[in-house]
């Protein structure tokens, strides 16, 4: 099918949860001029037009909203929670969760886990430690 838009690829067709070597990595970017952050990576800043440099995101953040996916797309063998997370570094990121207990307002951590067709990517896990 033409025009297939996949949520896990950016507009340049690159997987957003991998680096250029194909290693699972939350790679965003930060503007060298105004400090604005972005995910996926940008080269030009939307705020000020400055240049963005790559920024490794730690994956810790707060759930802005969460929903259950009961009828999963191809490549997922079961339903899952899906969360919209405000990362500590700034960007808002969408992603599937580990387990089914993630709720709005919780602190979560992106962890490396199988996502689609067993391929490694990131899922959000509740932060249980202090």
């Amino acid at each position: 099918m033409t025009g297939d838009v996949r949520f896990d690829h950016d507009l340049a067709g690159r997987p957003v949860y991998r680096d250029d070597e194909g290693i699972a990595r939350l790679l965003g970017s930060r503007c060298g001029n105004c400090g604005a952050t972005a995910f996926p990576r940008r080269t030009v800043c939307l705020e000020c037009g400055g240049d963005h440099a790559p920024l490794e995101l730690r994956g810790r953040g707060t759930v802005h909203a969460a929903a259950s996916v009961g009828n999963p797309p191809a490549g997922f063998d079961r339903g899952f929670r899906y969360a919209c997370v405000d990362l500590a570094e700034g960007p808002r990121v969408l992603g599937p969760c580990l387990g089914d207990a993630v709720e709005q307002g919780q602190q979560v951590q992106a962890v490396v886990a199988p996502v689609r067709d067993g391929e490694l990517g990131f899922r959000f896990s509740e932060v249980r430690d202090a």
Binding site: D19, I23, A24, R25, G59, L98, G99, D100, Q109, V111, V112, A113, P114, L120, F122, R123, S125, R128
Partner: protein, 387 residues
Amino acid sequence: MSTQGPRIAVIGGGAAGMSTAVHAARLGARVTVFETRYPGGGSTGLSAGVFTTTYSDPLDVALRVESARALAELHADHALPVIVNGFLRLSHRDEDTQLFAAAVAEQHRQGVEDARLLDRDEIARRFPGLRVDDVLSGLWAPGDAYTDGHLLCSVWAELLTELGGQVIRGTVDGYRGGAPHQLRVDGTWHDADAVVNAAGAWAPRVGEILGHHVPMVIERHQLCFAHLTRPLEYLMPTVMDYAQGSGRLGVYFRAEGEQRLVAGLHSNDIGFDVIEDPDDFSAACDPEFMEQMAEQLLDRLPGLDDMGLQEGYAGLYPYSPDGRPIVGPVSDGATVVLATGGGGVGVNLSPAMGRLAAEWAVNGAAASEHAESLLPRRFADAKGGAR
């Protein structure tokens, strides 16, 4: 504490140094530990803290049996948190199974009576979720345990203080030999009748200041955390999927609370990710490591395939050239003593290493049949060996 006992200066407040300090104080010495950060603030505090007796060599087992007894005492008498989760080695080759059988025999001989071989079915039954189709047997020591490196050093620091010793925060930056030895710590001079270099990955640098060579290879090793979506119905033992002498890194993991595992890559062979400067290494996990861990953990724990990995950190293994610790005077009769080189098992060995080092420093002799085999002089003939 005696006001007449010898003054012992211990450089390094990690597991080896704190253990040496407490043992020396018990022998009547006046002990001062010099530590740049805080007790357990170096590699000790980054350790997975695993204690096991599952070895076949009599010396390896003897050091670990002594250490296990000391750990049990610290738990019983001083409330050190110790989690008895057991230790399981996996065999994939007949020669490993034979080695495991020899290890069980040696452990039994030295009083670890509950160590035994498990067959594949029993491993599968005890630890659901673990993939065993490629496993021939397991070496199982149900009494093995883990603790926390920081807390271990904190307990020893308290004991040291009760015995009249002290921990001074500072870095040794100068030395004058003679009787007594004089150490300059952040500009202030301290006298000592004997000096113990227990600085772990920093021991070669301390050795340069003190005028002795410490043969050492420093490796960086990483660990990570696995998040589980539900509590396990059993306490995950420390599973070591590494074959002794295989020359490759093996995955290990153990319980960390109800719904998490700690996991990393271990080897007793030397030469992986060697670093030159212990103050200049990446303390964060590499993305490649996380990828490798995810593959290996999902492969070994298919029953827990809804796990997710969170990066942990990297710490240092201070290896001696033969992988055994270096404990004893730098030369015959010297009052500068080494207690370092524990590699990836230094926390495990620290109770035994500390006793030996303290006896060398305080008495000039160590009462153990194994003391000779750990002396620095075994490297004297090697290139770059001790002098």
